[in-house]
Homo-oligomer: 354 residues x 3
């Protein structure tokens, strides 16, 4: 068990203690569950009541928060980030235990750094390289000519097909598939004796996952037909996400669970795609665009655009449309009443019964 | 081949034979395909014609159904349930063949019940326990400190990461991932020399799958950041479903394929989530709420609520909105006509064109 | 490196060279990236500018395209198909290297063609057969009584459960699951001492994947409760797609990423289902129907129907509905103005303030 004084922890996160810096801290916890030996955080006003009631020994808060007397806090500009850093201190990332399982199947031409950890039943293809301190969990499959950098974690049953690239400090959750064939077919109405067919376009490109990317369980990044499908530096992708062939995601994007980015689409820097949203193929999405959950983007988006709905429109337009639907029936009643009045004014009672 | 008399089968399901109880039955089949040696069922009036025409030796029906003379039936309160029980009689669940494949990789500190079946290329981590009669299919990955109960089936390539809990009689279809990291990052606009970054929040909690749960192929249940992601007793989850970190599903929920429950959301007892629906994070969904296919829930739901649409609203409100859209153009024509008439009445012919 | 003259390549695709047929060609590339030794294609007018600017040695074009003097082209009826064929020439499909890895676990009663390639850590069940020239990548799991035909590629970690059938020339991308249990439960409100439960309907049928099908990474085709879930000849399915139990897809369908076809639904010939769309259960979808991205089909569709929205309606109806929403607020203003005018005409100034 790690024990630290509050002052030590505050120093770690660049925060300032208000209260007893000598307090012994053994971990972090949510406001509701924290005890006197734990640090919690308060970053969202919605949880003010929980903050007031918490039994946490100390709470990470913003610089200017007003706090009741006797409450020990650590002040910093970004208390959520401070919490993330403290949590990392108490729950550090897994570290490679160097060595290759005797039950792995490694091609003799592969090059695995002696500091890497390779689990049982892993397969590593010809000419593939694995960097220092990288962990390959049980059942990971690296094809031929794959490059995996340093300090990565590829969890159980991750598949990286031939030729694909994985940078440094990349985390791939279980079941991720990098470099599956893109979905490309030319319709051949004549065929060669067996009638029409969908003729497969070879998917001869690769997928490249840049440094500091994380990809969630069972998500898929397809290889390009020609060229590269790219997931930019520091981008984070949740579970069950589809990235189509030839797509390019800029740095620092966020893609939530169940979303899909179709082929050849380019996302700029810091684009946020919420859960179950879809972006059609061959589009350009500008930097920092924000795509609401379940929306369907069918047109290019300007930098900073905030869209919702299918087809996705500006968030405000979408909200107006939703409000309109709710007011519609009221409006319909007004229209019927007006028709009646106008007919009266015209001297001919309305007959048509809508 | 199992052969039973109809009377024996009726007893199994607590039903009452009307007709020849000595009939020899060798299996179950749908109404359209059943022959004289097979039992079928009729539970949905929509299939009345198929019921009339069936060649089944006997049909499981409700208590009060009127039936043509000469038709052999087994009456019970819940004929679909009766069918399920009979089908289970003819197609019993797989049974463990006790033993551990010599090609599995079991940590010496793991404890596997001698009645369990462990397939080839399975990996079992340190201190992990596996209960009696549980089947671990080929390529299953259990991390360290995992507990799997009795009478479970974990099909091929299922992954249960470190520390996670699986109850008794749990079925995990192929490719299920339990305990992948939740999706949590603190945005750090300053970083440490390489510009902004998404700083990973350690996901130090676990996922717990309670007794009698079934989870479909390639579905994912993320581990909590702190604490537990919980899937309640008897809940059934279909394929390609996402359960976010810290979510809690009550007992006896149904979650259909492609749906997603975001982090920290709580579903009550018996909630039904239809295909491709999404529930946003940090919500409370009351007992027995019903969430339509493809809908997007963005607010708490009362017990028994029935919602549809994105954002999800009461089913009736949604249906009205849909109807409104269909009637809109008609309404628009009426409005134009009214404007013309009013202008006439005012003595100033309408100029503005729509 | 393969080198061919342009004339040789034109002959391969049944095209006609306009320009220098003796040109040496070493590969294919997109218009923007191609150099003098490469062939590109121009099939979509949208890319006219790229066509004019390309440095490609030759371009595959349609029969009647007008082309600037000096531009070398190969004319054919279907330049995209011609491109697919040329690309296949330069990037041929993987070929089996016959043999069974000593690290595979093959049941002694299985029958694997000597021309097949079986990777490390593959498991093959009892009585299962694998045809000539088929490749089973590392970690593939074939259950008992499975049949896989000739010339297939099953990539890493594909699972085909017991009894299921895979035809010839089938491609299954990594992580595909064939024959997971369908999602079927009978609600038992009484139970047997532990309260209500969802009673599992045994899933005793199979899934059958016909010849020339391709299925994308981590997609799932469930086995039927009784009978067969069928994916018809030449159908192509993208990543993360769900095919429910008892569904039947006709020949030559296209199902894009994230889509779901619920149980017992039948798609005709050549149906196209775009990304993240859903089709409810027990429906009939006619030949060549076209289902837009993210739409939700809740009713049978006629052959050739083109639908969008949730619930899905005819594309034109849907587009009108979308347009209506946009015009709604304008209409609402008109209605308020009309009410004011009518009140004036009636001699009673409008009081009600909407």
């Amino acid at each position: 068990m790690t024990v630290r004084t509050l002052a030590e922890l505050a120093a770690l996160v660049g925060g300032e203690v208000s209260g007893d810096g000598s307090l012994a801290i053994i971990g972090v916890a949510p406001l509701e569950e924290a005890g006197p030996g734990q640090v919690s955080f308060f970053a969202n006003k919605r949880y003010r009541a929980a903050f007031e009631a918490t039994k946490a020994g100390a709470v990470l808060v913003g610089k200017d928060l007003e706090v009741a007397a006797g409450r020990t806090v650590v002040r910093s500009d970004n208390p959520y980030l401070a919490f993330a850093k403290l949590a990392t201190h108490f729950y550090p990332a897994a570290r490679a235990v160097p060595g290759i399982s005797p039950q792995a199947a490694i091609d003799p031409t592969a090059s695995i750094d002696p500091g890497a950890q390779v689990g049982p039943f892993v397969t590593v293809g010809a000419r593939t390289t694995v960097g220092p301190r990288t962990i390959l969990g049980p059942g990971v499959r690296l094809g031929d000519d794959v490059r995996v950098g340093a300090d990565c974690i590829l969890y159980s049953n991750v598949v990286v097909r031939e030729g694909c690239l994985v940078g440094d400090r990349v985390i791939l959750q279980p079941g991720v598939v990098i470099g599956g064939d893109g979905f490309g077919f030319a319709t051949d109405l004549i065929g060669e004796g067996n009638g029409p067919r969908h003729f497969k376009i070879p998917q001869a490109g690769i997928a490249a996952i840049e440094d500091d990317v994380e990809i969630g369980a069972n998500s898929c990044v397809d290889r390009a037909a020609l060229g590269v499908t790219r997931v930019g530096r520091g981008t984070k992708i949740d579970n069950l996400v589809q990235i189509g062939h030839g797509a390019e995601l800029g740095a620092l994007c966020i893609v939530a669970a169940g979303a899909g980015i179709a082929g050849s689409t380019r996302l700029g820097l810091g684009v946020v795609v919420w859960g179950q949203a879809g972006v059609a193929g061959h589009l350009e999405v500008g930097d920092r665009a924000n795509i609401s959950a379940q929306s369907g983007v069918m047109h290019d988006l300007d930098p900073g655009a905030r869209v919702a709905g299918t087809p996705a429109v500006h968030e405000r337009t979408w909200a107006r449309g939703q409000a309109a639907l709710e007011r519609f029936n009221d409006m319909r009643r007004q229209l019927i009443e007006l028709k009646r009045k106008v007919a009266m004014l015209e001297g001919q009672p309305e007959k048509e019964k809508e």
